[in-house]
């Protein structure tokens, strides 16, 4: 925790640039991802998707966002007001903080902390709290059911997620994301840890509450889950957080398995974004391929398959590292 107690390399200008950069990235990323999601889903169903606003509907999401800003913010009468109002902010702040340690290229990183991945996972876990707050404070049975499901699911899937990442951390011997990327100069870890990569992608899909694990907001049974009672920009904040979470889990996959900024010809930052959006494309691909699982199947899958496999992978990795 040395870097937290001795903030020697921090300049005010650098912090300001970092904050502005991250907020711009979050906004542009969400707008792009919604458009990409609609395009990917459309093409998988032989449709063109949005085509009217801008080139191939490219600024359709900008129009949608403008519309959302103009909407009335409705607060239902019987909600728990302070918690209800705090939930969208609580869901969004940890998402912003995790950008602190993501290495976009060799030099472009806000702070290289030696607790990097722990910081990301700790803040990502706060999302669950926000979802529970939103669901509980809404005073709506669908919301609270969605929130309960989300908590059960996220806790179940965080365990294999941590264990699979732990096997990489064992290989590198560092929690810092920069060290982990630097260790992949000769080969990417997806080549030596394919099982861990598959397990991580599965858990990441579940962590971001996306299909086939989108039970917290299963629209056919729970209206919209925990954000049923939210409208306008409050709803947009949940949406923004969801898509930014997608970016973060894809960024972690890139850093841990796909070699981060390493790649020929193009600059490091271009490679980083190409890999991140490829992983996001994979997650979208899952969504439009697999049907939603039942809740008991979801929990069984986590505890009976993912966690034993993750443990086996960790133990085998530990053995090999010890024998080398």
């Amino acid at each position: 925790m040395e870097c937290l107690t001795h903030p020697a390399g921090v300049s005010v200008l650098g912090m300001l640039a970092g904050i502005i950069g991250v907020i711009a990235l979050v906004a542009v990323n969400a707008l792009f991802l919604i458009w990409m999601e609609r395009k990917v889903s459309a093409h998988m169903q032989l449709r063109p998707g949005p085509m009217e606003v801008g080139w191939h509907g490219a600024i359709q999401t900008v129009a949608d966002a403008l519309k959302l800003m103009g909407k009335e913010l409705i607060t239902p009468r019987d909600v728990d007001r302070p918690v209800y109002l705090a939930a969208p902010i609580v869901v969004f702040l940890p998402v912003l903080l995790t950008f602190l340690v993501i290495p976009f290229s060799q030099t472009l990183i806000i702070r290289d902390m030696n607790v990097g991945i722990l910081l990301i996972l700790a803040f990502a876990a706060l999302t669950v709290l926000a979802i529970l707050m939103a669901g509980w404070a809404s005073n709506n049975k669908y919301s609270v059911l969605g929130a309960i499901r989300s908590v059960a699911q996220n806790i179940a899937y965080e365990i294999p997620l941590l264990i699979t990442l732990m096997s990489i951390i064992l290989m590198v011997g560092s929690f810092s994301l920069v060290d982990i990327v630097a260790a992949q100069k000769t080969y990417w870890f997806v080549l030596v840890q394919p099982l861990a990569f598959i397990l991580y992608l599965t858990c990441a899909t579940a962590e971001t509450n996306r299909a086939p694990f989108d039970l917290p907001e299963a629209e056919s049974e729970l209206v919209a889950g925990f954000h049923t009672e939210y409208s306008g920009m409050r709803f947009a904040l949940f949406f923004l957080a969801e898509y930014t979470n997608m970016f973060i889990v894809a960024a972690i996959a890139t850093v841990f398995f796909l070699g981060g900024w390493h790649g020929p010809f193009l600059p490091g930052i271009a490679w980083f974004f190409i890999k991140v959006y490829f992983v996001i494309f994979m997650i979208m691909w899952f969504r439009w391929t697999f049907p939603r699982v039942r809740f008991d199947q979801l929990i069984t899958f986590a505890w009976k398959i993912l966690i034993p496999l993750a443990f086996a992978n960790l133990i085998i990795t530990a053995f090999i590292m010890k024998l080398r």
Partner: protein
């Protein structure tokens, strides 16, 4: 223990199979037609509204203004007015259908003694007013001739648009 791993592997293989299907569809060409901007070629037996057949020999219509189609139409939606060019030959100078009443029965086409009518392939017929679905077949023929580069059949000289006069002529 063996069955546990076997189940995982077969399940994983089936998941990959599903993903192979969706990625194959992802790269297939899309089938949606951007409706107001694109036009598709209709099948030859498509029934749009009726239109005059453009006779390839004479380069014009074959209508003799016998009014059989007007009489046979169950919805009475055809308004046709003919004029005698000389003692023998009679031609229409006005042929209008009120398409909103048409049931596409095709009796007008069947009954025509000179087979001068056919189904058009026009399917973009949406309009904002009732008048948008009233089609002037004669004007449409002139348009077809213009598109085909043929000499345009002029509207024949006709008596002034009175009420009693043309009908009286037909009944006489």
């Amino acid at each position: 223990m063996v069955s546990y791993f076997k189940e995982i592997l077969t399940g994983f293989a089936s998941l990959l199979g599903g993903m192979a299907v969706t990625i194959r569809y992802f790269f297939k060409p899309i089938v949606t037609v951007q409706y107001p901007r694109e036009k598709i070629i209709m099948t030859p037996r498509f029934r749009g509204h009726t239109q005059f057949i453009l006779d390839p020999e004479t380069g014009t219509h074959r209508c003799i203004a016998c009014e059989l189609c007007v009489r046979t139409c169950p919805s009475q939606l055809i308004t046709m007015k003919g004029v005698k060019l000389d003692t023998k030959k009679k031609v229409p100078w006005m042929y209008v259908i009120e398409y909103q009443y048409c049931s596409l029965c095709g009796l007008c086409i069947e009954v025509c003694p000179t087979t001068s009518l056919e189904w058009s392939d026009e399917y973009r017929l949406a309009g904002f007013t009732r008048e948008d679905s009233v089609f002037d077949i004669f004007a449409r023929l002139q348009n077809q001739q213009r598109l085909a580069g043929l000499p345009v059949t002029p509207v024949p000289e006709h008596p002034a648009e009175g009420e009693a006069e043309p009908e009286g002529e037909v009944q006489a």
